[in-house]
Symmetry: C2
Subunit: 300 residues, 2 copies
């Protein structure tokens, strides 16, 4: 099954386009993981492995897909890559789809190497394949092609950075007339035109910040079949309002990511009556699902 | 000492702006490493470690700086990150400077995490710091800032992708009027203006393909103080001709990278009279230095 078919079937089953980002900040993990994370890279990685398995137990019944952020894991060097691989495999073991947020981008055989790592199990099955990967388009169409070809082979998805969620995204992405982000969006539509799932959605998706609902309808028009990843919900200020234009009437077309609003929920003063970090986290996931109800089609 | 001061002092000592890229393609390693690389990820990583130590022994007397390409190592998952860290440390142990070619780019605390990994020894010294890092500017100025601040703290360098060496680089980099790459170049000059070494060169450098000498004088004018990384020499078609505009009369201002023309030299039919891969590799390094003589100022 193609990535968009797998994705929207799972989203329909779970009844929400919510995605949880796995962005472990070592100094803001629930205990005992935080203390362990201070005890050297190896113990930190072991703690991350245990933490993510428990976290995935909490969220797997509620959402379709998770998004590990490679950067935080890489801080632990080889130990971190071990923890990242375990998080990917643990998510898959729990029936979750995995979008690897590594924002890679290079040329030729180097792009191919990155694609191999994250979409095709690496060299000799060294690293578990994700279902999809974020990529950076700056180096151009020929530089993206190895990612596209690897995604074809692996029946995986790609999410190309188009308009990111940070306040200064326009610095280069708005350059020119039409703005660069529009040109990238047109390429995304082009690359995806012959890469459609049975449900009509393309395996070549795009990243458009959930922080910029005013531009979403515009990008949807430029990329009518692209699955849109909307990061920045919650902590970064994105709300459900205005995101509807990314979705069709069946609640298909986009996924909405939240990381910190879920991962840091265990610290929330209003949830301290719940005794475990898992219960508090679950509340935050359910709140996010509730907030997204108006834009996510008919509930499952 | 600032990165540009360290870099050009080392280049003056070695008498060449040549840089060797560490881009290990597992199926094109000299024996016995190639055979070992086929024996599972752990043995492949062990082989890479031994290979790079020997390779660095060969090249350390001749060049100032090496550029590991993270993508190839990552294919081995956590084992690959272990081999990458060892290559960085082994290069430093041999007095070489290290430019990590990881082309990272993200926003806020995620950029900070990448910068921590590659420039500040990661979390709890999990990964050896490089002297410099390549970054992708697509996400904008605010997204690059955490890299700039980390580089300031670490006295490290950054090389921002401006105009890359691939044939299709212009796809997005030439978009708009002025072209996007010019706008990025102006930002690079701006970011580097207050980040000068004692020698007058900035710690904020730029990547401009050695494959496009016709544009080099233009980018040098836009970024008069930026250290320019010129990748694509040799295998990708770049030659010394036309690169002179990146250098001043003392041979300062740029570094020229070759990867495959050095790493695959052991396969060259004309060098088979030399019995070891190390000797053939050394010949290729010396040939590159010779080819760069006309543009590298007075020899040491």
């Amino acid at each position: 099954m193609s990535f968009p078919d797998r994705l929207f079937a799972a989203i329909s089953t779970k009844g929400t386009p919510a995605m949880v980002g796995l962005d472990p900040r070592f100094d803001r993990l629930p205990e005992p993981f935080r203390t362990e994370a201070m005890a050297g890279p190896k113990r930190a990685a072991d703690a991350l492995i245990e933490y993510h398995r428990s976290l995935l137990d909490v969220i797997a019944p509620h959402v379709a897909i998770v998004k590990p952020q490679s950067a935080f894991f890489e801080q632990l060097g080889d130990h971190g890559f071990r923890a990242l691989g375990d998080a990917v495999q643990s998510a898959k073991d729990r029936g979750l789809l995995v979008l690897m947020d590594a924002k890679r981008g290079d040329i030729g055989s180097t792009s191919e190497a990155y694609a191999s790592t994250f979409l095709e199990n690496g060299w000799d099955n060294a690293f578990p394949a994700s279902d999809a990967l974020t990529i950076n388009p700056y180096l151009g169409e020929d530089a993206c092609e190895p990612f596209l070809l690897a995604a074809d082979r692996a029946k995986a998805g790609l999410f190309v950075l188009v308009k990111t969620s940070n306040p200064g995204a326009g610095c280069f992405q708005d350059h020119g007339e039409p703005p660069l982000a529009d040109v990238v969006a047109e390429k995304v539509a082009d690359w995806g035109a012959n890469r459609l799932g049975d449900n009509g959605w393309s395996s070549v998706g795009a990243v458009v910040g959930a922080t910029r609902p005013e531009e979403l309808a515009h990008f949807r028009k430029l990329m009518p079949k692209a699955t849109i990843l909307l990061p920045g919900f919650g902590f970064q200020g994105g709300s459900a309002e205005g995101l509807a234009s990314a979705f069709n009437e069946r609640g298909e077309g986009a996924v909405v990511n939240a990381s910190r609003s879920i991962l840091f929920a265990f610290e929330r003063p209003d949830l301290q009556h719940l005794s475990t970090w898992e219960e508090r986290t679950e509340v935050a996931v359910l709140e996010m699902k509730e907030a997204l109800k108006p834009i996510s089609g008919s509930p499952a």
